[in-house]
Each structure stands twice: as structure tokens, then as C-alpha cells.
Symmetry: C2
Subunit: 261 residues, 2 copies
């Protein structure tokens, strides 16, 4: 199935924009999981078991797997292979290299690992993400306005600001309708502006929950174009109260409901 | 040993700015190496055997290892563990994420894998690379002006151009003297400008050889500050003529000599 159709299929089935961020910080796992790659695998398995019927997608942050070296990539591969079929997967890798190297990152993330989409960084220009949108079977979300405090140091540079230039180029490159933008929920002004200017580009929106972004606006900009992903990581994986894994299930129910399409 | 001292130690010992880029494209390996992760390991082992006495550093491009999934990280770990001690290692990973995630990339690349330094992308602002320069035992090269054709699309945006802003911020963040800039040899104007404005920041210079960058200028800007790395990947690993591995040795001798400190 083409990426765009699969995205639509999952949205129609799940009826929520909720994307669960898988960022398994070993220090934050419930106490009974060993602080090993196998412990992380077991935790993620449990997380997926109690969330997949309520989630549109999983965004796996590769940093939290790479801390284990090869065993981290091994458990990531197992998790992806064992996922239920009706959920999108995003490799949150923020890759971006010269064209020749980016083609190999595409092979790694899409062919070897089996992600449906990936996050990519635009600093090297459109050539660095062109290989990620070259096939209609996969997609990419290009970093535009990120959710971290120092993001606008670079992204707001120039007049018009850089993030606008990035969005324009992504729009232009989106011939196969498999590109979108990473737009942090912590930057409401830019979120509104970019939605107005690019009404049909899907957003992947991080920054909800512990990062403090506004959920209402995230939902509004997704509903405005009928597609998108609102990511929640720590507030689902590591709720501050309750008993594991029921507390994860409860948090997911809350967000899944809140982010109904 | 502190990163800066180790860099100096290797420079004094090897007396060359040559950094060998390890980009093991399986399609380009000599015919007798199997197109498997083990074949790639054997090729890289041979490459290192015949180049390490002539090289200041190795820059491993992670894309070419990640195509194999977990086995790629496994052979990368083996290669790093088996390297001779008097050579620097750079994880050419171009990572860059929100601060919390970047700390995990640091753990992956420096603690788990054992790289001395890494390449990082500045698109998320200085927060994304701050964890990479937080310890004086490791260093980072921040993408500034890259060697690919579409690089200036983003990097020249604004007035002053974005690349200048990136360099200024890196200079400001360089309190432990463990930061440098990635400056492509294919952009002579910017290479000269940034060297003049930031006379003490080490450059990691890709783009020599098959990418067409000027070797003479790369050498000049390294000599001007007495430090730096000039990277050659494909022209050393995959010479167009000669018999393996003697042809690799010959190409390395040529570049090692050419890039004498």
C-alpha cells in the first residue's frame, strides 16, 4: 500500500491523531524491568500491548535504542517486526546527510528496519531529504519548528525566517504527497502561521505533555487539514502516578480521546 | 587524556591532517568481499591495516553501517575496539535532537561505541550539540557549510548568512576547546571567510577527491590554525585503478604527504 493510503487507512481506523512516542529512558522504567536492552524490549512490548488499539502511530526515538549499541538496534528490529499491522511507524532519527549518504539512511530505516516514515533534518538542504520521499511507499517529516527552547536561534534566522523557507521547499518537494513537517506544540505562533500558509501539509507535532505545548492548538491544526500526528512520549510512557501498565493505558485513553479526528 | 590533548598528540605523531573516511558502500567493495556485514567488516579491517600509520583520524559514516541494522552496529563496535590507539575516531552521525535526546546520542556514540568525537547538526540550536561538548574528554564538529550541491539553500539564508551565525554560536560554546566546524572543501569562499573570522576553530573538511573540492585551500586553512582534519573517503577506499589493497595504500600515501602539517 502507498504511504499516503496507509496513513489515511490508519486514521480512518483509529480515529485519533495520537502518536505514542517510544523513548525508553532506562532510568525511568518501572523498577521491575532490568536496566538492560532486554529490559527495555520488555517494557516497550508492554507499552505497545496496552496502547496500540488507541494509537495512530508509534514514533521510535532512535537515541534511546542506540545507547545499547548493536543490541539496541536488535530490539528495535524485533519491536517493529512484532507490531500489529494497523499502526504507522516513524523512525525519529533526525537524519540528514549529503545525497549519497542519505540514500543509505533511507535503506537502513525503510528497507532494513521497516519504518513507514522517518524524521529528517533540513540543514544540508533538500538534497538530504529527497531520497526519503523518492518512493511513494514511505514518507518523511522534515524538521521545521522544533519544540525545544533554543530552536528559534536557528529556525527564526533571516527575513523571511528560515522555518518558512524550509516549509516552502518541503511543499515544493511534496510531489508524491509523502512529506510533512515537524512542528513543535510549544511554538503556537509558528504552528498557526505554517498551518495557514500550507493548509495541506501534514504535521508531526511533538512537545505535548511534559514539554508544555498546547494540546488544543495541536488538535486544531490537525483537524484543519484532516491529517497529522500529535506525539506524546513521556506523559504516556512514564505517568507520575498509578500502577503499571494500567496507568499507561489510562493516559493513552485520555490522549486518544482528546485527539479524536 | 583530554580530547584536545589527544587531538594534538595524534597531530604531532602523524604530522598530517589526513582523515580517512570509512564509507563502506557494499556495491563498491572489491569483488572478493561478500556483500554482507562480515564482508564489510573484513574490507574495513584491511582498509585500516594499510592506512593507520599514515592517517590522523578515521571518520566512520554511520549510514553505511546502519544499512545492515544491528549487525552493522556490531561490526562498527568491533572495528572501533580493534583500532590502533594513536588515531582519532569521528562518528559521522550528524545527530542533533532536543537536549534530553541529544544526551542519549552522546551516550551512544561516546560511551557505548567509544568515538572520540562526532558530527552534529545545528538545526535545533545550540542545545542540541551542548551535550556533545559538555565533557573535555570528547569533541564535536558542528555542520556549518557542507560540501553538497544544495547546502547553501539553507546555510546561506538570511543576512548575515546562517552559516556565520552557526559559526559564531559554536565559537561561543567552545569553552572546553572541543568544538569545531564541518566546512566543505567545495565551498572555497566560505572556507576562507570562516577561517579569517574564526582563526582558532578546527575544521573537519569533507569534499576532497570525488566531490571536487580544492585540496590546496583545505590544507591552507588547516595550516593557518595548526589543526584540523581533511577527509578523503571514496578516493582512498575505492581507487579507480590498481590492485587491492596496495592501491589503497598508494592513495593514502599521496594524500597523507599532500596534507602534511
Amino acid at each position: 500500500m502507498k504511504y499516503e493510503e496507509f496513513f489515511r487507512h490508519c486514521l480512518d481506523l483509529k480515529k485519533t491523531f495520537l502518536c505514542v512516542g517510544v523513548d525508553p529512558d532506562p532510568e525511568q522504567l518501572p523498577a521491575h524491568f532490568p536496566r538492560t536492552s532486554e529490559g527495555v524490549y520488555q517494557f516497550c512490548k508492554n507499552l505497545i500491548d496496552v496502547t496500540h488499539d488507541l494509537s495512530l502511530a508509534y514514533k521510535f526515538n532512535l537515541a534511546f535504542f542506540e545507547i545499547w549499541g548493536a543490541p539496541g538496534w536488535q530490539i528495535l528490529g524485533r519491536l517493529l517486526a512484532e507490531l500489529p499491522p494497523d499502526v504507522m511507524t516513524i523512525g525519529d532519527a533526525k537524519r540528514g546527510d549529503i545525497g549519497n549518504s542519505s540514500r543509505f539512511y533511507v535503506q537502513a530505516l525503510f528497507d532494513t528496519m521497516g519504518f513507514n516514515a522517518a524524521t529528517v533534518s533540513p540543514y544540508l538542504g533538500s538534497e538530504s531529504y529527497a531520497p526519503f520521499c523518492a518512493s511513494e511507499n514511505h514518507g518523511a517529516f522534515v524538521l521545521c519548528v522544533t519544540s525545544n527552547p533554543s530552536s528559534l536561534e536557528i529556525q527564526e534566522h533571516g527575513q523571511p525566517p528560515l522555518y518558512l523557507k524550509v516549509a516552502e521547499k518541503v511543499q515544493e518537494m511534496n510531489r508524491l504527497r509523502n512529506l510533512g513537517l515537524v512542528m513543535g506544540a510549544t511554538k503556537p505562533e509558528q504552528l498557526t502561521e505554517i498551518r495557514q500558509r500550507f493548509p495541506s501539509l501534514p504535521f508531526l507535532i511533538p512537545g505535548i505533555g511534559k514539554q508544555g505545548g498546547t494540546a488544543a492548538l495541536a488538535l486544531e491544526v490537525c483537524r484543519a487539514c484532516g491529517t497529522g500526528l500529535i506525539n506524546v512520549s513521556r506523559s504516556i510512557s512514564f505517568p507520575e502516578t498509578g500502577k503499571f501498565p494500567e496507568n499507561i493505558r489510562e493516559a493513552t485513553q485520555k490522549y486518544s480521546q482528546q485527539f479524536q479526528i
